[in-house]
């Protein structure tokens, strides 16, 4: 592996000071499952790797507060998907998180890291976008909040400034009944990257939000308000028609994992599955409310 220095700040001010000093010559490590692969390949210009695991202000927990669920930047995927508050309200995130990498990867990799790596194929990103998650960033200049939907600039690129750190992932609590689901297409079941992935969230008021991964340089989010995707009496043909208008925003390409044509075909297949499961869940949630 290429050589670099290692720093282990014990507090947020110490971490921010290091970031000010090294700017883009520094990389943060929590799980390290993406970073170490890049460092092994020697294709990152890194002078110092900063370990954030001792920074108490950066939580490793999931906390449910009034109207929000807060996922700490050091919370590992394996724990997040087993959190009761996540399991009960955000099944699409659970379904996505459960298939990231392998058991060993999920024990180490964080949701925050999956986001910050900014891979177009990241599995936890479409569900979090569909749930309209916000990202809180902090630096020596203060704190700001960014919708996850506008967080990505391109493959591997985000709006994070070199002196900023992701401090919190905030997911709004559902207002009213909600049904959601996630699906992905891969070449093999374990330890593979998504050929495409999709999350769908159906709201009681008729709004449908879909997010697609691996079909454009960044995640694509499409919203629809006709109510047809949230209505169990609507015909399959009409559902297909609406899904196709949503999918028109995807811009798949051909690469090592799939051809453009296969991606386009599988998008509709996966979108149908996601809509069907999400609608079942929405119907259940509506029933449970009476």
């Amino acid at each position: 592996m290429q050589s670099f220095k290692y720093a282990r700040p014990e507090s947020l001010p110490e971490l921010l000071e290091l970031l000010e000093k090294f700017r883009d010559r520094a990389r943060l490590i929590s799980g390290g499952t993406d970073l170490l692969v890049k460092l092994q390949h020697g294709n990152l210009a890194v002078e110092v790797v900063i370990d954030i695991k001792r920074v108490a202000e950066l939580s490793d927990r999931v906390v449910t507060t009034n109207g929000w669920v807060s996922i700490g930047p050091r919370a590992v995927i394996g724990r997040v998907v087993r959190h009761p508050g996540i399991e009960s309200a955000y099944p699409a995130l659970v379904e996505a998180g459960r298939i990231v990498g392998s058991v060993q990867i999920r024990n180490r990799a964080t949701v925050a890291g999956n986001i910050c790596t900014a891979s177009p194929a990241a599995d936890t990103v479409p569900p979090l976008c569909a749930y309209d998650a916000r990202i809180r960033l902090v630096s020596t200049e203060g704190s700001r909040e960014v919708p996850l939907r506008s967080f990505f600039v391109g493959p591997g690129k985000t709006v994070i400034a070199p002196n900023e750190v992701l401090a919190e992932i905030r997911v709004p609590a559902p207002h009213g009944a909600m049904g959601s689901s996630f699906d992905r297409i891969t070449r093999r079941r374990g330890v593979d990257l998504a050929t495409i992935n999709i999350a769908g969230v159906l709201h009681d008021n008729g709004t449908a939000v879909f997010a697609f991964g691996a079909v454009a340089p960044t995640v694509v989010v499409a919203e629809e308000t006709s109510g047809d995707l949230c209505d169990p009496t609507v015909s399959a043909d009409r559902v297909d028609e609406v899904l196709k208008t949503l999918l028109a925003t995807a811009r798949p390409i051909s690469d090592v994992r799939s051809s453009k044509e296969y991606r386009e075909a599988m998008l509709l297949v996966a979108a149908r599955r996601v809509q069907r499961t999400a609608l079942e869940r929405l119907t259940q949630a509506r029933g449970g409310r009476e």
């Binding site: 050589s3 290692y6 499952t33 170490l36 692969v37 392998s102 058991v103 060993q104 990867i105 330890v191």
Partner: protein
């Protein structure tokens, strides 16, 4: 706190404490094998795809090729060398031998450690849970059947 090129760490490996200086850019796998000569843990892909380097860190199965040794200060690590008791193989290790779960043997230490983690978290796994629990470990010889049988058998044994 300074940036370091070598990092002093105190780790407990298989219940023995080690105080060592490690290079900032060395992985846990490199330090286990090259510095501490615990060569039971294997290196194969070096990027988290094959699971041959699986060890338990603070009770969690991880790929030791994707962990910096410097991150391990204060950690408790269990490697394949730590499973035996008084010179006897653990029931899980014995089950691997009894069920023909070993052919060339290179994946075996990682496979056993992934199975050890599975049985600690799910003492009586179903076949589906075993296959899911071992999906981060590749074996090019056995076709996995013997391995799944061994873990199933070891899971039953822990009952008595």
């Amino acid at each position: 706190m300074n940036e370091m090129t070598t990092v002093p760490i105190a780790v407990t490996i298989n219940q023995t404490r080690y105080d060592v200086e490690v290079k900032a850019h060395h992985t846990l796998l490199e330090v286990l094998r090259e510095q501490l000569h615990l060569t039971g843990t294997k290196r194969s892909c070096g990027e988290g795809e094959c699971g041959a380097c699986t060890v338990l860190v603070n009770g969690e199965a991880v790929n030791s090729c994707l962990v910096l040794a410097a991150e391990m200060d204060g950690a408790e690590i269990l490697t394949i060398e730590g499973l035996e008791r008084n010179g006897e193989l653990s029931p899980l290790q014995q089950a691997f031998l009894d069920r023909g779960a070993v052919q060339c043997g290179f994946c075996t230490p990682g496979m056993v450690m992934a199975a050890e983690y599975l049985l600690r978290t799910t003492p009586h796994p179903t076949e589906a849970e075993i296959r899911e629990g071992l999906s981060g470990n590749l074996c090019r010889c056995t076709g996995y059947e013997g391995i799944v049988e061994a873990v199933k058998h070891a899971g039953r044994e822990t009952d008595s």
